[in-house]
């Protein structure tokens, strides 16, 4: 294969892949996992369950060895998770003992340390200077919560830290939305910075770090679940709209108002539980071209629906475009007149 052909085929492969809904969904999930660490655990579980179900369905009945590959992968994840779990638990216990809270500040050596904590709207970054086992100064390097939270607790807390020279748990404000998260994030950032100045402060091993970042990120909570639910809904609509834009001629289906006025004038009206032609237009929007192809034989092509449609959509035109898309999907060249296919 020449390089130009490979290049051509590679593009073709990519394009064909993008035409598959499963590949697109995988890409959406991957994008979310990359930019949204706390979603990784949930997405990993969903991915493993989905792949497991698919593989079980495809390979288990035929006793194909691919099924056992999957079982091996799941076993690897389970063992890895167990290993990371034990490591994380031990490290966390060790950290509690050496956490630079209160009197444990004595263990922190003098120096300037940078630490991060998760606030209400993102990562808070601070620079802490320690001298003579006392906190001498705290500089805030990044503070995204500034835009949304009435945050006079933070300067107050900082003032008290500097006055005491050591870290202590702040009293949680209850009235303001996001304020507890912000204050906790700030506290965690200071603690993270101080822990870097503690000799032999327990740390996760490299395997646990990679495993946690790859599969878990940060612990999922209700906010993560809600964000995922919203992202799921948004991606699905995006996907729903994109589907009909990827196949020529089917884009008109996006315009459908679902008003059903076309059904009222259609001489066929309903076939196999599908309202004609609106149901076929909606199936086209969904990308179910095979079903449209099956049912298109009932369309008599009279065009009354087009005259009745409030935005001038033509049922036969959309149906014929879906028919064409179905033929192309099957890999058979269609040379007939589009108008006759519907």
């Amino acid at each position: 294969m020449t390089s130009s052909k490979l290049y051509h085929d590679l593009l073709g492969l990519l394009w064909n892949s993008l035409n598959l809904r499963g590949v697109r969904l995988f890409l959406y999930a991957l994008t979310v996992a990359l930019i949204f660490p706390s979603s990784r655990f949930i997405l990993a579980v969903v991915a493993i369950l989905t792949i497991g179900y698919k593989w079980y369905k495809d390979y288990r009945p035929h006793k194909n060895r691919n099924f056992y590959y999957f079982v091996g992968f799941v076993a690897f994840v389970a063992v890895g998770y167990g290993f990371a779990f034990v490591n994380v638990r031990n490290v966390n216990e060790g950290q509690i003992a050496m956490r630079p809270l209160g009197a444990a500040i004595d263990q922190v050596t003098d120096g300037v340390y940078i630490g991060r904590g998760e606030g209400f709207r993102g990562s808070i970054e601070v620079e802490v200077e320690v001298k003579d086992h006392r906190i001498k100064d705290i500089k805030t390097l990044a503070y995204p919560d500034l835009i949304s939270v009435l945050d006079n607790q933070i300067p107050e807390f900082k003032k008290e830290l500097l006055a005491n020279g050591r870290l202590f748990t702040p009293q949680q404000p209850k009235m303001l939305r996001g304020a507890p998260e912000t204050l906790t994030g700030y506290f965690n950032a200071v603690q993270d910075a101080l822990s870097k100045g503690t000799p032999n402060f327990p740390k996760y091993n490299w395997f646990s770090s990679i495993f946690l970042n790859s599969f878990i990120g940060q612990a999922p909570n209700r906010v993560t679940l809600n964000a995922l639910a919203i992202l799921f809904a948004v991606f699905m609509v995006f996907e729903y709209t994109l589907q009909s834009m990827l196949n020529p001629g089917t884009g008109r289906s996006i315009n459908c108002y679902n008003c059903g006025s076309c059904v009222g004038v259609c001489p066929v009206k309903e076939v196999e539980g599908v309202q004609i032609p609106m149901g076929l237009v909606l199936l086209t929007r969904l990308g179910d071209y095979e079903r449209v192809m099956e049912l298109s034989k009932y369309c008599v092509g009279c065009g009354r629906c087009a005259s009745k449609c409030p935005i001038g959509n033509s049922g036969p035109l959309v149906i014929s475009a879906a028919f064409q898309a179905a033929r192309e999907k099957k890999g058979t060249a269609f040379t007939g007149d589009k108008g006759n296919t519907a």
């Binding site: 799921f232 809904a233 108002y257 679902n258 009745k308 935005i311």
Partner: protein, 567 residues
């Protein structure tokens, strides 16, 4: 800046009117985006000239601030759940339950009443979901549909009333309903507004309005447009109502899906597991349906109805652009100048304002609601101080029910066209009935309900509670009684002359509009005769605009083609 506001408001209104009257034949969302772009361009140029580049840079943020994500995503997840319900046979299960009811002591009539009110009972985020699933079932009740239980006239009433109830059920929906937009605004004063302060007034008004629609369709519409429904009557000798019982069977997974659906809805409403967003609950419900009822992701996608989702998003964009360029301030100052007309005053202006979306019905109520609720909010203590918070809540209730029902009579692909399609009627057949009920019954009733229940004593042990309930009952009887009387009176004096009938109908609209406006003014200002008269005048103006847009006669094209030799 005020001058700019008038320009952008003009762009928005002109584009909407051109779409409504069919001069722009493109999806309304596209027109809204066009309006947004034009407003932003004009606003950008104006700001650049007046304040410099920095002011232009702020413009995108200002207009994007108009988008409220919650109702959009809640609506989407509600649609997924409905898609899952449909794919797993949940609607068949519903039909089976209705079949059991039919054989129960409540009989056919009781079942039909429940069926007609099913949309408001289930309160889905878009009325089209249930209408698409159940309208074919309703059609089967007629002679053409096979069962032959109902005559042509009865079927028209059934389909029309059911569609009316559907295209309004998006208002009280707790899962992304239109009412949530207004509840969000009221939340700035009423701490629990987002829990559903507008839900009960809307649901009550919708039920009463549905009954009036049924009567209007029976006694007015069928007389005004006698040849514009192509449904066939049963042949002579066919015994209507004596047909054999047919049993609808539903798969077990349909019942499970229905149980999941109802449970999700209850959890979303009552939050028994602690506060959690509606979206999380509904997506979890949809995923449970995938796991338990073995449906596909595609089935969830099938539930999506793009129109309300995109209309709401586009509506928010247009509203954001108007807000950023001073369009709302211009609108508010225009309405303010209406207030300064002594004959109208605040009461008259509000009586017109609450009917705005019935005057200008678009394919989805969310479009204008997103744009007009902020304006209405400005009438309260937030800016103009025309109204107290309680009065604002009363107007909001009246406005929102009117807005949510506006997709019913819309000729722009509104939900009512589904009903017209099912009853094989010309476009516009249901418009008179739907607009009349929204204007004359639903808006005043919602206002009264809000005043005497939601904003009043809510302790059943308190004697004032009983008094308020009696007041609501009395008003309901009075409002329904007067309008039913008009309907009967109209039906008696209609003649074969369509032109004369149109004017008779218009007079009925004017009388009902006056009463509706007066009641709204009473709900707001109690027994102040001047205010009540001002409200009545506002109601008459709104009713004239609504009544004049009801078609005098319908085209006979459809009837001719469906009954002609070509079929």
């Amino acid at each position: 800046m005020e001058f700019l506001g008038f320009i952008t408001l003009g762009i928005f209104i002109v584009l909407m009117l051109l779409t409504l009257f069919g001069y722009i034949r493109t999806p309304v969302q596209t027109v809204l985006v066009l309006s947004t772009v034009l407003c932003l361009i004009v606003g950008g140029v104006f700001r650049f000239v007046a304040y410099g580049w920095d002011s232009v840079v702020l413009l995108p943020n200002e207009f994007l601030g108009g988008i409220i994500l919650h109702p959009i995503t809640a609506l989407l997840t509600g649609l997924f759940l409905a898609g899952g319900l449909k794919a797993s046979g949940g609607f068949d299960a519903l039909k089976a339950i209705l079949g059991y009811l039919r054989r129960s002591p409540i009989g056919l009539v009781g079942t039909l009443v429940i069926l007609i009110n099913l949309p408001v009972i289930s309160s889905l985020p878009c009325g089209r979901i249930l209408a698409a699933a159940l309208l074919p079932l309703l059609f089967t009740f007629g002679f053409e549909g096979g069962l032959g239980i109902l005559s042509k006239s009865q079927l028209i009433v059934l389909i029309g009333a059911f569609t009316r109830n559907s295209m309004g059920s998006c208002g009280p929906s707790p899962i992304g309903g239109v009412g949530q937009i207004a509840e969000g605004f009221l939340g700035s004063f009423f701490p629990t507004a987002s829990d559903g302060i507008l839900r009960a007034p809307q649901a009550f008004a919708l039920m009463l309005g549905t009954a009036v629609v049924a009567l209007f369709l029976k006694f007015v519409s069928q007389k005004l447009y006698p040849n514009d429904v192509a449904l066939r009557n049963a042949p002579e000798g066919f015994d209507i109502g004596k047909n054999s019982e047919t049993q609808v069977k539903a798969p077990i997974k349909g019942f499970i899906a229905l149980a999941i659906f109802v449970t999700s809805l209850l959890i979303a409403i009552f939050q028994p597991l602690g506060k959690m967003p509606v979206q999380s609950v509904l997506v979890t419900g949809a995923l449970l349906m995938i796991l338990i009822c073995r449906i596909r992701l595609n089935d969830l996608l099938e539930g999506i109805i793009l129109l309300p989702v995109t209309a709401m998003a586009a509506g928010f964009l247009a509203a954001g652009a108007l807000a950023a360029t001073g369009g709302f301030t211009a609108l508010a100052s225009m309405l303010n100048s209406l207030v300064s007309i002594k004959a109208l005053g605040v009461a008259g202006m509000l009586a017109i304002f609450v009917q705005f979306q019935t005057i200008l019905p678009l394919s989805c109520a969310r479009i204008l609601t997103a744009a007009l609720v902020p304006t209405l909010y400005l009438f309260g203590p937030a800016q103009f101080n025309f109204l107290s918070w309680s009065q604002l809540a009363i107007v909001m209730a009246a406005y929102i029910i009117n807005a949510t029902t506006s997709c019913g009579p819309s000729p722009l692909g509104g939900g009512g066209m589904m009903g017209e399609g099912t009853m094989r009627a010309e476009t516009g057949f249901i418009k008179g009935a739907y607009t009349f009920a929204s204007m004359a019954v639903m808006a005043p009733m919602a206002a009264i309900f809000m005043k005497f229940l939601n904003l009043s004593v809510f302790q059943p042990t308190d004697p004032r509670f009983a008094r308020d309930i009696i007041m609501i009952g009395a008003f309901a009887i009075a409002i329904a009684g007067v309008n039913v009387f008009f309907i009967f009176l109209g039906s008696k004096i209609f003649s074969p002359d369509a032109s004369k009938n149109f004017w008779i109908q218009l007079v009925g609209f004017l009388f009902s509009g006056a009463i509706g406006g007066g009641i709204l003014a009473f709900a707001l200002f109690e027994l102040e005769p001047t205010k009540i008269l001002q409200g009545a005048l506002g109601g008459i103006i709104a009713a004239a605009l609504i009544g004049l847009m009801v078609p005098k006669m319908l085209s006979k094209r459809l009837t001719a083609t469906l009954s002609g030799p070509n079929v």
